[in-house]
Point group: C2
DNA sequence: TTTAATAATTTGATATAACAAATCAAATAA
DNA sequence: TTATTTGATTTGTTATATCAAATTATTAAA
């Protein structure tokens, strides 16, 4: 007899949990860039010992999400304008490639999910619920990128998003309301439905560059203020 | 009085040293893909405690260089053909971009270094000293990529190289001798001197695809053998 | 001899202890 | 008051101890 049972997944390691926890906090804009993260603080906040926290922070630092100062202090990595521009060009390459690849592979479910995420995002923006809007924006993009079926590419894109994540909460309010951006998003959704990879890639690129411009303006303002 | 002293760099953390050590071993092909790495083995081999080893392995695993099996065992990440193709496409995008950017920025020293690395690589290949050839090939490529002045991009490229690193030592002997590859390398060197970014990018792409084909053939042979 | 059950060993996960470097606070001297 | 020095505290680094899961070795049963 061969019974088909679901394979039991072992519970995540504490390190993985801490990592994920911090990632979500970063995406949620809980820590502003430059904020210092001490190990004992994170450890007591999450109720674990130093060991898994240290490992998690080490991983995030290796990914460039956190930055280690010469004193060995870890801070949420601030982004210079140069690095932002660099990340933007890389994002354009990777995300347009993922979009083109995905457009042929997306299931009907994927398409429905992406379109609904887009709708929800616009609705949330209109309701000025920016946290929700940001989440749905993420869902929209990542539903597409995941659909490309390329795990390495996906991970790389995720990482680049994470690195700007701490800033997104700061730029988005104004950005979400821009008619240009909304219109662009809707066109992207239409391109998904039509499985028009080239068009989708074009709109994704515009989306990336629009938000990068936004962020750059914000960074410049910050530099001047200092 | 203001004396200008060189800033003292703190010695690397044990974790960083272990990380670097393992990276070099991987590049050098010391561990075949699939090889298991136990923490205690690495720890005693390097004469440190488990803690820094565990952190280093965690980082390498997060980077995809090592793979964690369901049992929590860490092995040198084997590469499937699908992932190889994925990595190849990403490499083409990132490395041609880096090449184009670098061609305008390279200093005369950089150019000299790249050209000399190329010469050395060909000479080492002719002498059938493949270890040396591999090292100089790396130097050639990374001198260019570093010249783009894009730290994030550079890190990403480095990581992709590392992931195929464990295989390179297996494919290279035959590859290095291919007249097509040698000729292509020489043309790339000429393009660097001429600061012809577009041409350089073209040759880099050919180089990537040639070696990827090589590797893919090897992987297929391996799969059949199993 | 092969299989099943049990014991011994290895290995990864986590917490804690100990130390050194860095930071901060308080006290003292200018 | 301002600057300097000393002392106390925090923080990162590393090693070790402990435990549970997994693997391997051994023994007993078929």
């Amino acid at each position: 007899m061969t019974i088909h049972l679901e394979s039991i997944e072992r519970a995540d390691t504490l390190t993985e949990q801490v990592c994920q926890n911090l990632r979500e906090a970063l995406i949620g804009g809980m820590f502003p860039p430059g904020e210092r993260l001490t190990m004992r603080f994170v450890a007591t906040a999450l109720g674990v010992s130093l060991t898994p926290v240290r490992e998690a922070l080490g991983i995030l630092a290796a990914e460039g999400v956190l930055e280690m100062l010469p004193n060995r202090t870890l801070i949420v990595a601030p982004i210079s304008i140069d690095v932002l521009r660099e990340i933007t060009e890389i994002r354009v390459m990777l995300e347009t490639f993922a979009s083109k690849t995905a457009s042929k592979l997306l299931t009907e479910n994927d398409i429905a999910a992406a379109v609904s995420a887009n709708d929800e995002m616009i609705r949330a923006t209109e309701a000025k619920d920016f946290k929700r809007a940001i989440r749905h924006n993420r869902d929209f993009h990542f539903t597409i990128y995941r659909g490309a079926g390329m795990p390495t590419l996906f991970k790389m894109i995720e990482n680049l998003w994470l690195r700007t994540g701490a800033y997104v909460n700061l730029t988005h309010p104004g950005f979400g309301l821009m008619p240009k951006a909304v219109e662009n998003h809707n066109r992207a959704a239409a391109a998904i439905i039509a499985r028009d990879g080239r068009a989708l890639a074009r709109f994704i690129e515009i989306d990336i560059r629009l938000s990068a411009e936004r962020l750059e303006a914000m960074l410049k303002a910050k530099v001047e203020a200092a």
